[in-house]
Every structure is written in structure tokens, then in C-alpha cells.
């Protein structure tokens, strides 16, 4: 194994300022914040006041696009959640349970997946046939609330999401938490490496990267097609398949390749609101996790396709799909987002809306199976036919 060592332009990991800040926020610091918050609630209760849990307000009303940094950032508007409010009481109770559980993880140095937390905390509320949590979406929401309330990320609360995504290409990783395994992701056959849910630098070290750019791909079938066509080697790039919306692990990985190794990031998704959204999340971060953009986003990422222009350019009219009502609605909302307010994206979105069409990556197979690897991507990337 590992017969060919990368010879040129191998990047070496360097710690960023952010990494340093994040490291300072160790379990003790986070634990202190949690206790501080809980103490506040107990004080209120003792004073016969309605206990109030405060977290950041999310969603458009409290999110702004930082032109300077090119990322989405969260404002300082707060949401108040009271116990003595019919609409809040259940969620208040759930927040307390998650808080207590996160506190346990930190104390015992354990980590858990969000689904595990759900099950750890799920039980019947005494004297009723109501469960503390009915489904995972409830605990997931509360976890986000807690992240924001104590101003940290879930990884620091020892909580992580499900793993998703595949890495392929000439990149050597070391898993410091797994007997220092060292492996090159071009040499794992055509399958590639399953990206983990946590990719913090203290756990996964990126030892060497031999590539000119990172290509982020929405669908696993397209990733497989590109592997089959030996695209990564021929074009000297890293392929990251996200299987839909990128999981936090994949986003963290792409961010690190971009931030630590200064690799350009090129995103290749379906030409539809979901695809554009995947792109925008990789580039600027998401509204839901606006507070964490600085260590997830890649502000200089570029969008290679699919674009409306492609439909005409490559005669793909027959393999477009009609946008559903919901798609059109989403596209119209996107028109108003600050981070799509450049002329190129405005034109793209407006054209798509007026045509009422969407187009998938796989639609390129309508030309020929290898077309995407031999023509479409190399040509567009060489000519820098990107959307910003």
C-alpha cells in the first residue's frame, strides 16, 4: 500500500486562529457555562419567578450575511423560553433534560450521537402516557438551542450527528484516536473512505494532500461515476461526496481542506433549490448554524453546475424536470437572500423560476455516461465557468 507518495504541492496542516480559540474552550469551560445557566434558573425558581431559558433566535430575522467575511453570521437577538407558558412548557422540560445529559457527557468524557441522546433521554413522564420526547426531531432542536445558549458547538458538548459522505482522492489521513491509522484515500479501491461525524483536528489529522482543488459532489452515484472514470487522478483533485445536504463531518472536512491547505473548493450539485442550498451552506454556512459559520464555511467556494445555461449549452431540455410549487417558492425566497444578491445568481435564479425547470447532475448521462468526466467538468473548470 501507499506505493506512490505525493511528490508535488503537498499541503501540511497548520493551526488556524480559530482552531486555537476552539481548543481553549475545553470541557471544563463548557461545563462551567452550563452550570452557570442552570444556577440562574434555580435562582429564578427560588424567587418564585417563572424560570426562563434564553437562547439565540435563529432564522432569517437574526441572521445576516457578512460581506467582509463572505459568511452567514448570527445576530444577538434572543429567544426566551418560559416554563409557565402552555406553548413552551414541554420544550422547557426537554431543554433541562438535554442540558443535564450534556453535563454528564462532559463530566464523564463520553461522546454520543444525537440519536443516542434521544434514546438516552426518552422515557415516560411520570403518571402520564406521554414520552419526554416523541421523536428525534424534538431532541435535535433542543440540542441546537443548548449549543447557542452556552455559545459553543455540539462537538464541544460531546454530541455529534450521524456520519454521512465519502472521501476519495490523493489525501493521507491519520486517525489519532484509532491507533494512529494512516491511509491514503486514493488507495481504497473505488469505494473511498466513509467520512466520520467528527473531524476535529485533534482527532483526524490531514497529513498530506496532493491536489489542486476539492470537488464537492451532491450525489453518491455521480461520485461513483467520476471514480469509475478515474476523474480524481486525471484531474488531480479530491472528491467529496455529500449524499445530499452535507453532514457536519463533511462540511468540517471541506472547511479544513480550504482553510488549512488553501485548496479551492468547487461545488457540483443538481441545478435546483436543494442543490443551490447545499452549495450556499458549504460556502457561507447555514442560517440554522449561523453561529458556527466561521469553522464550517468556505467563503471562496465556487459553483460549477448544474446551471440553467448548461441546459441550452448541452441540449438537455428533455431531461429537465418541472419545478414543483414548493421549489418555485424556495427559489423565490432565495432571491431575497443577501448571499445570492450578486448579478450572476440573481440571473440564474430568475431564469430558473421563469422557465420553471430544474436539472439533475445525472441528467448529463443523457449525453453519454462519460461525458461529465471527459467533457463537462474539465472544460467548465478549465474555463472557470463558475457561478460565484
Amino acid at each position: 500500500m501507499a506505493k506512490k507518495e505525493p511528490k508535488e504541492k503537498a499541503h501540511v496542516h497548520k493551526k488556524t486562529a480559530h482552531d486555537l480559540r476552539m481548543e481553549k474552550e475545553g470541557p471544563k469551560e463548557i461545563g462551567r457555562r452550563i452550570k452557570e445557566m442552570a444556577d440562574g434558573l434555580v435562582e429564578e425558581i427560588k424567587a418564585n419567578q417563572d424560570p426562563t431559558f434564553i437562547t439565540s433566535q435563529r432564522g432569517r430575522g437574526n441572521v445576516s450575511f457578512s460581506e467582509a467575511e463572505g459568511i452567514i453570521t448570527l445576530g444577538d437577538k434572543k429567544t426566551h423560553r418560559n416554563f409557565l407558558n402552555v406553548a413552551h412548557a414541554r420544550k422547557f422540560m426537554q431543554t433541562m433534560l438535554v442540558t443535564s445529559k450534556a453535563n454528564d457527557y462532559l463530566g464523564n468524557n463520553k461522546t454520543a450521537a444525537i440519536r443516542e441522546i434521544y434514546y438516552e433521554l426518552k422515557h415516560t413522564v411520570g403518571g402520564t402516557d406521554e414520552n419526554t420526547f416523541e421523536d428525534q426531531s424534538e431532541s435535535d432542536g433542543v440540542i441546537v438551542d443548548l449549543e447557542h445558549s452556552v455559545e459553543t458547538i455540539r462537538e464541544k458538548l460531546n454530541i455529534h450527528a450521524n456520519p454521512k459522505g465519502t472521501l476519495y482522492g490523493d489525501i493521507t489521513l491519520i486517525d489519532r484516536m484509532h491507533r494512529n491509522d494512516e491511509f491514503n484515500c486514493l488507495k481504497l479501491g473505488r469505494g473511498g473512505w466513509s467520512i466520520m461525524s467528527r473531524l476535529e483536528p485533534n482527532e483526524i489529522e490531514i497529513k498530506k494532500v496532493n491536489a489542486d482543488y476539492v470537488l464537492v459532489i451532491e450525489t453518491s452515484a455521480m461520485l461513483e461515476r467520476l471514480v469509475e472514470e478515474d476523474y480524481a487522478r486525471k484531474n488531480k483533485c479530491i472528491l467529496v461526496g455529500t449524499s445530499g445536504q452535507a453532514a457536519r463531518g463533511a462540511r468540517r472536512l471541506v472547511h479544513r481542506l480550504n482553510a488549512e491547505f488553501k485548496l479551492p473548493v468547487i461545488v457540483f450539485t443538481d441545478g435546483d433549490p436543494y442543490g443551490w442550498y447545499i452549495y450556499s451552506v458549504i460556502k457561507q454556512g447555514s442560517m440554522a448554524l449561523a453561529a458556527h459559520s466561521e469553522f464550517l464555511a468556505c467563503p471562496d467556494a465556487k459553483y460549477v453546475g448544474m446551471t440553467i445555461e448548461d441546459i441550452k449549452e448541452y441540449g438537455l431540455e428533455n431531461v429537465t424536470e418541472k419545478m414543483k410549487e414548493m421549489d418555485v417558492k424556495r427559489a423565490k425566497e432565495m432571491l431575497a437572500y443577501d448571499w445570492f444578491k450578486n448579478p450572476e445568481w440573481q440571473a440564474e435564479l430568475k431564469t430558473a423560476i421563469s422557465l420553471g425547470k430544474r436539472i439533475e447532475q445525472q441528467a448529463l448521462a443523457n449525453k453519454s455516461l462519460e461525458f461529465v468526466a471527459t467533457e463537462y467538468l474539465p472544460k467548465k473548470i478549465k474555463k472557470k465557468q463558475f457561478l460565484p
Binding site: L84, M93, S100, T132
Partner: protein, 570 residues
């Protein structure tokens, strides 16, 4: 026969028998009102095998109640049905009323359009003088038998006779007339009918009598059905209702034609005194105002008034600020009595009732609406054996007489349907455990037909019906709202309480504060919060309730107090 042949034949016939105005004139005949209704008995409600029997009982019972009330007698009425054969029944109705004289008994049961009530401006169940005579006609035309009547004035003599009607003459034919010595006061009528069926269902006699009892809590009604089972509707009040007085027409609502006609027959010598004597609420002050608005002298002989002068008077009436019409001719049941009656017969969870002020509709007739809403408990009709399957029960009355048929074309039904019941806490009217009681009382009820089962939807009537229902609906809404709030409060407390142990355990684990302390504190917090809310709700509901109640009291007050005033406005 070919088409051509037929046409030729028709042509020949025409030539043989040319029809002209003169031949038509020979055919011109007059016929009596009895012949008319004999041929059109369906217009009297005498059609449909079940409905016919109910209509018959309705006519007899209405007459009995009217007679008793007019004579200030607490009514005791016995109704009996015997099955004589297939679709063949005998109906007997006996009352303890004032009885009839020898002269009137024939007219009462044997002549259409004869009676005491037609011309009087006074509330009564009957008003046309058609119903009972219509029954006599139906009896003779289906069975060939006469109708038997026994009547006594309580003076030791009792008249007994049999009668039929001669339709061509519209006159009673009396046979077997007897006068015997016996102590009985009241009237009993017995008649046989074919082509009718008794059923114990919606629209049947039993249902009719049950509804009658609800609106006449002072009456005692005993019913023996064809199977021999007896039902007794006891009186819930021993109070005789105020006897309505004959009323004068109110100037507002009087038409030019009414005025012209009345002026021709008046005994007054001057137009002014004519107005003052023969109209309600016209006094010297209003006469002076009227004089100032017209172009002739009120000292003029009223018999000489022209149509145009009458028009001037009508115009002037509209500008005078008359007080509301007198209620002397009307006899509402009263809010308390409707409530008592609904409570005892319907057995609901609660009742709200309302007696509105009298209003006038076109023609100068005053009318008044009474509403009762009975909610929950046994209210509403059961549509199956499952007690949850319930639908709203509409109880329509005109002058306390139940209206069981033709609901679709009745102003009351239309008004009920036009109200937005959701506002008053009733989500779906059709399936609500609700009885809607409405009594329309008037000196002249504008029935849509001689069958007297539906009230015409005149604009003023619809408006007043809607206002009455909405007013009463609001009060019900307040009750239902308070009920729901109390329920909500309990639910809320339960909800907060159940989360307390979870929260206390979690917070205790993080802060090391004692769990028990947290539980105690949190429970106190919840109690304090909900106690406050409850208090607020109470205050709020009291205020609204009070306002509503005051308004309603005010209106009832007016309706009662008005009796104190004379017929003039000074």
C-alpha cells in the same frame, strides 16, 4: 288514427262549438270558501297520513287553549285517539274551557271563516276560523260521519249535537241536538277520520303535545294513544298567563289603505279624535305634531278623508317619535317560565332564555320574540342509541302553538340557520346537543299558508329573529366560554405539574440543588400563576355577564313596565 285525422277532428269540433266571451260567461260560477278548501285540503295541512292526524289534534287543542285563556281558566285538556280500522281513527279532545252557546257551536265547528278572533288585534293560537271546520269537512268526506260536540257553560245544562258542513252553502247542518241537565263546563269534540295513521315519531301527535306542553307550562295535557298508553304532561306553573287585551293598531306600520278603511267605519266625529281613539300611542302631543305636518285640519270629519289626505297622515306618522307599541294584546310566556319548562321537560345542562321587546312589522301588527336555548344534558335529538349521536332540535312556535311542518320555508328556521353559531361556542349547529326554542307571538301571525306551519320571512321579522337569537346566543356563549376556561385551567395545571419532577431532577443534577426543594418551589409557582389567571377570568366573565344581564334586564323591564302606561303617550 293518423295525425291529420286528429287535427281535422279538432277543427270540426271547434267549428261545431265556437267559444266566445258569451259562452264563457255562461260557465261563470261562484263557489264557497268551504268548497275551495274541501278541494284543496292540502292547503290546510290535511295531507300526508301522519301529518293529517297531527294537524287535526293541533286544531282542536289550539281552540281549547285559546278558549281557556280567554276565560282565565287553567286549561285541562284530554286528547284520545282510538284506532277503528285500517287507517281509520277517532279523535276526541275535551277541555274545561268556558263552553259554547247554542248559537256559536255550529259556526265554531261547521262554518269556515267564522270565529271570534279574525278581526281582533289580540294574540291567539287560532286566527282564521278555518281549522276546526276543516276537520269536520275532512271527517265527513272520508267517513260520511258527523262530528260530535258536547259543550256546557257550567250552568247545569249541557248541549250535545252532531254536525256536518254543507260545502256549497258553507253552513253547519246540525242533527241529534239534545240539551240535558248536567254539570259540565267545557267543550268536547269527537270525530272519525279515514286515510290517517298514528305514529310515535317526529311530526306525530305525541311530539306535538310534548312541544305544546313546553310552551304552555300552565296547561295540563293528558294523552291516551291508540294502544291505550297514557302520557300526562303536568303543569309546572299554576299561574294563569296574563290575558292579552285587544289592541289598537300602532300608527307606525299602518298603511294608507288601513287608514282609509278605518276612517270610513269610525264613530268619531273628528279626524283628530279618530286617530286618538282608534290608534295605539296617539295622544294630544303627537296629534299637535301631526297637525303641524299636514295640509288639512284635524277637525275634519274623518268619513270625508281622501286617499291623498290619508297619505299625508301616514307621512306625518313616520316623523313623530311614537313610543313602542303597547303589549296589551300580546302574552309572552316569560323568561323564567320558558326556563322552568325547558328544564323540566328537556332536562338540559343549562338554559338561557330571552323575551324581547315587541316590534312591529308591515301592516302595523306588533309581534314579539321569545328565545330559549337549552344546552347539554338531554338537549337535542338523539339520532341513534349512541348518546353522542345528537342533533340540534328546533322548536318553533307561533303564539305558543308548535309548528312541526314546513320548517324549510319558515322564517324561524331561516333565521336560525343564518346565525353564526360558532361565535357563541357552538362549533357545528347540526350536531350540537342543543334545543332552540322560539316563540313568535303576534296579534296576527303571517303564516305562509292556511295550514299554519310556517311564518313568512318578512324583513322586520327576520331581522328581529336574528337579533333575538344572537342576543341569547351571546349569553350562552358566555356560559360555554366560562365552562371551557375552567376546563382549560385544570388541563393547564395538570400539564405544568407533570413536567415538574423531570425539570427538578435535571436541574438538581447540574446544580446540586435539592430536588425536593425545586419541586416544592415549582408547584407553588404554578399554583400562583393559575390562581391569578382564574381570578382574572372570573372578573372578566363577571363584567361581561353583568353588562349582558343588565341590558337584558333592561329590556325585560321595559317590556313589563310598559303596561303601566296608558294608551296615549302623555
Amino acid at each position: 288514427m293518423s295525425k291529420e285525422k286528429i287535427e281535422k277532428k279538432i277543427k270540426e269540433e271547434i267549428e261545431l262549438d265556437p267559444v266566445t266571451a258569451d259562452t264563457i260567461a255562461k260557465e261563470f260560477k261562484e263557489h264557497s270558501v268551504a268548497e275551495f278548501f274541501k278541494k284543496n285540503k292540502q292547503m290546510l295541512g290535511l295531507y300526508g297520513k301522519v301529518r293529517t292526524l297531527t294537524t287535526i289534534i293541533h286544531e282542536y287543542v289550539s281552540n281549547s287553549l285559546d278558549a281557556c285563556e280567554e276565560a282565565n281558566i287553567l286549561p285541562e285538556i284530554e286528547v284520545k285517539l282510538d284506532e277503528l280500522g285500517e287507517e281509520y281513527y277517532e279523535a276526541t279532545v275535551k277541555d274545561n274551557g268556558p263552553g259554547l252557546t247554542e248559537e256559536t257551536v255550529g259556526k265554531a265547528f261547521g262554518q269556515l271563516l267564522a270565529g271570534t278572533k279574525f278581526h281582533r288585534m289580540m294574540q291567539a293560537r287560532g286566527q282564521q276560523g278555518i281549522g276546526a271546520s276543516g276537520c269536520t269537512m275532512l271527517s265527513q268526506s272520508t267517513t260520511g260521519k258527523a262530528t260530535k260536540v258536547i259543550t256546557g257553560k257550567g250552568d247545569g245544562k249541557v248541549i250535545s249535537l252532531e254536525l256536518t258542513i254543507d260545502p256549497k252553502m258553507n253552513q253547519a247542518k246540525i242533527t241529534n241536538f239534545k240539551k240535558v241537565d248536567k254539570e259540565y263546563r267545557g267543550t268536547a269534540v269527537q270525530a272519525k277520520f279515514k286515510g290517517v295513521i298514528y305514529k310515535d315519531t317526529q311530526g306525530g301527535v305525541l311530539e306535538y303535545l310534548r312541544r305544546t306542553a313546553i310552551a304552555n307550562p300552565h296547561a295540563q295535557i293528558k294523552f291516551r294513544d291508540p294502544k291505550g298508553q297514557t302520557v300526562l304532561f303536568k303543569r309546572t306553573l299554576t299561574h294563569i298567563p296574563k290575558k292579552p287585551k285587544e289592541m289598537k293598531p300602532h300608527p307606525l306600520g299602518t298603511t294608507v289603505d288601513d287608514l282609509v278603511t278605518m276612517s270610513k267605519y269610525t264613530e268619531s266625529r273628528k279626524a283628530g279624535s279618530f286617530l286618538k281613539n282608534e290608534f295605539d300611542r296617539v295622544g294630544d302631543t303627537s296629534l299637535q305634531k301631526i297637525q303641524n305636518m299636514i295640509r288639512f285640519d284635524l277637525n275634519k270629519d274623518p268619513h270625508q278623508l281622501s286617499w291623498e289626505e290619508c297619505e299625508q297622515l301616514i307621512q306625518a306618522f313616520k316623523k313623530v317619535d311614537f313610543i313602542a307599541p303597547s303589549t296589551e294584546g300580546l302574552s309572552p310566556i316569560g323568561e323564567d317560565r320558558i326556563k322552568k319548562s325547558l328544564e323540566s321537560i328537556v332536562k338540559p345542562e343549562f338554559v338561557v332564555t330571552l323575551t324581547r321587546k315587541p316590534k312591529i312589522y308591515a301592516g302595523g301588527y306588533s309581534f314579539q320574540i321569545e328565545v330559549g336555548l337549552a344546552y347539554g344534558g338531554n338537549a337535542g335529538e338523539r339520532t341513534s342509541s349512541n348518546p353522542e349521536d345528537v342533533k340540534v332540535e328546533l322548536m318553533r312556535y307561533a303564539n305558543r302553538a308548535p309548528l312541526l311542518f314546513d320548517g324549510g320555508s319558515c322564517a324561524i328556521t331561516k333565521a336560525i340557520q343564518s346565525v353564526e353559531w360558532k361565535r357563541y361556542g357552538v362549533r357545528d349547529l347540526d350536531s350540537a346537543p342543543l334545543a332552540v326554542f322560539i316563540n313568535f307571538i303576534s296579534v296576527h301571525v303571517p303564516y305562509t299558508g292556511a295550514g299554519k306551519q310556517a311564518i313568512t320571512d318578512e324583513e322586520e321579522i327576520m331581522e328581529e329573529l336574528r337579533l333575538s337569537l344572537m342576543d341569547c346566543g351571546r349569553r350562552m356563549g358566555i356560559y360555554l366560554g366560562a365552562k371551557r376556561r375552567e376546563h382549560d385551567r385544570k388541563m393547564k395545571q395538570e400539564m405544568f405539574y407533570k413536567y415538574i419532577p423531570e425539570i427538578a431532577t435535571a436541574l438538581s443534577s447540574v446544580t446540586k440543588e435539592k430536588k425536593e426543594t425545586l419541586i416544592t418551589k415549582l408547584e407553588k409557582l404554578v399554583k400562583d400563576k393559575l390562581g391569578l389567571e382564574k381570578l382574572e377570568a372570573k372578573i372578566k366573565s363577571k363584567q361581561v355577564g353583568k353588562e349582558e344581564q343588565e341590558k337584558a334586564d333592561d329590556e325585560i323591564g321595559k317590556a313589563v313596565v310598559v303596561e303601566d302606561e296608558g294608551s296615549g303617550d302623555e
